[in-house]
């Protein structure tokens, strides 16, 4: 196999991994603040349909992404109000949010199903995109792919270098202690949940405008759940989330090629390979209980009453 054949594999790997990066990094920040939002799948679906509709009717994909992010935030605010203000159970509320998002997106998107849209094309960067080999390899992606890399660096910096990120981690660790020091626990958790919502919304919009430029009911096909699993198995470390997402993307692409070559394995089995491979590899990486102990937010999923 020569380099020319590898380039499309690499490119489609990155393309397939990008929605997971958005959704998982958003969820990672949410969980670091101590909130477990299982509604990622639902928020992705709503983001997908809103991004598609706004992108199609306005003709601007960027507007579509903004709308998708807002839709994700709106949905996450419902979750936030229920779990942070009203102290509802986070697991149950998150599951409900996923069901709600799936139903809502199907309802809103009924008349848009199957319509074509001009998907996000590669960004042409002067000079860089024209470099032979490296150009097509690294500088032929759409806007959101670069955005996902930028998001990774931003999250990494925020959590580990900034004071606000330290406060957020502290709140996920011991909200009552943070409260005693005088940090705004509920406000911070709201922001973290909203950030997760925005990221999930964009991840959804990426599916319907870039990965497969059309709206299909239930098109996230479990990626929201994989994103959730990624966060846990990546032991809440952004770099591992990134690697896990690319692994998922890589196996997705490889199994497509394998199907194309007419391998005598049932295609259902090949389709489940990416999910299987990602989880197996991450489970092996995170076997060390110490890493989990040090990185898992201690108050994850627990409600906090400031007055108790």
């Amino acid at each position: 196999m020569n380099l020319d054949a590898l380039t499309p594999i690499f490119v489609s790997t990155v393309v397939a991994a990008t929605p997971l990066i958005y959704a998982a990094l958003g969820e990672l920040v949410t969980e670091k603040a101590g909130v477990l939002n299982l509604g990622v799948e639902g928020m992705m679906l709503v983001g997908a349909v809103v991004g598609f509709i706004v992108g199609l009717s306005s003709g601007s994909l960027v507007l579509g992404y903004l709308a998708a992010a807002c839709a994700g935030v709106a949905l996450s605010l419902v979750f936030g109000f229920l779990t942070i203000t009203l102290q509802a159970n986070q697991v149950a509320t998150g599951l409900a949010l996923t069901l709600f998002g799936a139903g809502l997106s199907a309802f809103v998107g009924r008349s848009y199903a199957g319509q074509p849209i001009d998907g996000a094309g590669p960004l042409h960067i002067p000079l860089l995109s024209d470099i032979p080999v490296i150009g097509p390899l690294l500088f032929s992606f759409n806007l959101l792919v670069y955005g996902s890399i930028a998001l990774y660096f931003a999250v990494q910096w925020f959590l580990n270098r900034s004071h606000a990120g330290l406060k957020l981690r502290a709140i996920g660790e011991a909200p009552s202690v943070s409260h005693a020091i005088g940090h705004p626990v509920l406000k911070t958790r709201y922001f973290a949940v909203m950030f997760g919502g925005a990221c999930s919304g964009i991840a959804g919009a990426y599916l319907s405008t870039a990965l497969t430029p059309m709206w299909v009911e239930g098109m996230s096909s479990g990626r929201g759940w994989i994103a959730l699993a990624l966060v846990v198995f990546a032991t809440w470390k952004p770099l591992r989330v990134l690697l896990g997402a690319y692994l998922f993307g890589g196996v997705t692409v490889l199994q497509l090629y394998a199907q194309g070559f007419g391998l005598h394995v049932p295609s259902e089995f090949l389709s489940m390979l990416p999910y299987l491979a990602t989880i197996v590899v991450l489970v092996i990486i995170c076997r060390d209980p110490k890493t989990i102990l040090l990185n898992q937010p201690a108050s994850l999923g627990k409600a906090f009453h400031p007055d108790a």
Binding site: L166, A170, E173, A174, I181, G182, K290, L294
Partner: protein, 519 residues
């Protein structure tokens, strides 16, 4: 002091009242602190000291009463407000984030931000100046209670407070370190910083404090000049009656109950202490005390004895001659081991469960508790009620949650539970840590009573006074090694104190002594 009439009071509380459902935690309490004064706040557990301090630090708000800060009436509605006024607090129940480093913990409480590099330098500078060594890069979860307290104190000092509230600060320090801390506090007071010193250690209060305010049952029971009082007088103010004294009648110990032979054990915790060549014998009818600054292997030794951490081979730990090194906690308990762990909530008791259920946790094996595998609720409740009655545990009854009890009362309950189980060997880790005088006395007496009933007792404590008053023999743990044993009458606080900083670990001579002690 003479300036008191000219300068306004640093802090004045007037008529502070705070009610919780069912209890009045503070009832019309007054308190005034002069600038540069070391002021003791004394009282038993549940006397309302913590509530009063929470009000000063802005964690809770009073139902009635006023607070004046440097002559001006203020409302302290948040800890941030308290800090901005210049009030710093070292908590008794530490307010540290376990998975963060020391430097991160300190950065979280500082309102102004420092880049990590200069913060590290400032932490080291302050910690060295005041003799409180801490490593800014270490993770808090791997630190002992004593080390965590140092972090808390350093964190407060970095905020340059004008009033420093210290809640039981010396309970985890060596005698030498206590003297060093007192030096620090006196220097701070000279610099004009007022110190509110919460304690029930009468000797310390008499040595350190200028004035004392005593609370009893939520009310002001009096003020005193500690230097002019004796311990009995202060104790009377605090508990309202005279204090009984522990009596240790001479007794010849019986056969060996617990035996550790040349036990070494690596710690799984990357920052833990490895146990090295531990030799220890505890006989029936004697109390052996293990002194030492926390973080020197106590945690690991306790885990190895209770069975939470298994030894390398069965013979490393022997209970009444039987090798138990590979047996778990439940099996060792069945052989007559009772264990009072250092952490009351979470290890000694389940916070959210009621006392009766907590009693069942270790008493389930005793007769009558289970019938064909089913819990006998009535028996469990009777058992809990017996513990509550025998040990005068102040609580709402056997159905109240463990977390609703004050530290001292919960400790009485746990010690009582373990005592009533008729152990052959009792191991107690820091049994009176953060427990008031009355309850401490009771817990110590319970241990002595066990000894007099021919039970072998092993006590780990950081309070030397306690060990000297109740132990037949004292050994010291330092850097994961155990010193030779000493009879209290034949040693001194100075010798034990120097051993606590590793003084007995010196070449071959001490190795010979260790062998000597094991014999």
């Amino acid at each position: 002091m003479q300036a008191a009439t000219l300068k306004p009071l640093r802090l004045a509380l007037r008529g502070i009242t705070k009610r919780y459902p069912g209890v009045v935690a503070n009832d019309n309490v007054d308190l005034s602190v002069q600038p540069g004064e070391i002021h003791a706040l004394m009282g038993e557990n549940g006397a309302g000291k913590s509530t009063l301090m929470k009000i000063v630090y802005g964690v809770t708000r009073p139902d009635a009463g006023t607070i004046e800060w440097e002559g001006e009436r203020v409302t302290i509605d948040s800890p941030a407000k308290a800090r901005s006024l210049g009030i710093g607090m070292v908590f008794q129940h530490f307010s540290l984030f376990e998975t963060l480093t020391v430097a991160e913990n300190i950065a979280l409480a500082l309102d102004h931000r420092d880049p990590p590099s200069t913060l590290d330098a400032r932490i080291i500078e302050v910690s060295e100046r005041y003799g409180l060594p801490v490593d800014p890069r270490r993770l808090v979860h791997s630190m002992s209670v004593g080390e965590r307290q140092r972090v808390e104190i350093v964190r407060c000092l970095l905020q340059a407070p004008r009033l420093l509230i210290m809640d039981e600060p010396t309970s985890v320090l060596t005698p030498q370190a206590v003297q060093k801390l007192f030096g620090t506090l006196r220097r701070l007071a000279l610099e004009g910083i007022s110190i509110l010193y919460i304690s029930h250690k009468l000797d310390e209060i008499r040595e350190l404090c200028d004035t004392a305010t005593v609370l009893r049952g939520g009310r002001l029971s009096g003020t005193a000049t500690p230097r002019n009082e004796d311990n009995a007088g202060l104790a009377r103010l605090m508990i309202g009656s005279d204090l009984s004294v522990c009596q240790l009648a001479p007794k010849t110990p019986g056969e060996i109950m617990l035996e550790l032979t040349n036990m070494s054990l690596g710690s799984k915790d990357p920052f833990g202490t490895h146990l090295r060549n531990i030799d220890l014998r505890v006989r029936r009818g004697e109390i052996v005390g293990i002194a030492g600054v926390s973080g020197n292997g106590q945690k690991e030794l306790m885990a190895a004895l209770s069975g939470e951490m298994l030894s390398a081979y069965a013979g490393a730990v022997r209970l009444a001659g039987q090798p138990v090194g590979l047996l778990g906690p439940a099996q060792r308990r069945r052989l007559g081991l009772s264990f009072v762990p250092e952490e009351r909530l979470g290890r000694g008791a389940v916070p959210a469960m009621c006392l009766a259920d907590n009693a069942l946790l270790t008493a389930a094996q005793s007769p009558g508790m289970l019938r064909i595998g089913m819990v006998q609720r009535a028996a469990a409740r009777r058992f809990a009620q017996q513990v509550i009655a025998d040990f005068k545990v102040k609580c709402g009854g056997d159905q109240s949650a463990a977390s609703s009890l004050s530290g001292g009362n919960l400790q009485k309950f746990i010690v009582g539970r373990e005592t009533i189980l008729n152990p052959q060997l009792m191991i107690a880790a820091q049994p009176t840590w953060g427990v008031d005088v009355g309850a401490s006395q009771m817990i110590r007496q319970a241990l002595i009573d066990l000894r007099d009933r021919d039970v072998a007792v092993l006590v780990v404590s950081e309070e030397l006074d306690e060990l000297f008053s109740i132990c037949d023999r004292i050994v010291v743990i330092a850097q994961g090694r155990l010193s030779p044993s000493r009879v209290p009458a034949e040693t001194s606080v100075e010798e034990i104190g120097s051993w606590m900083s590793g003084g007995f670990i010196n070449g071959n001579e001490s190795a010979a002594e260790v062998a000597d002690a094991a014999a």
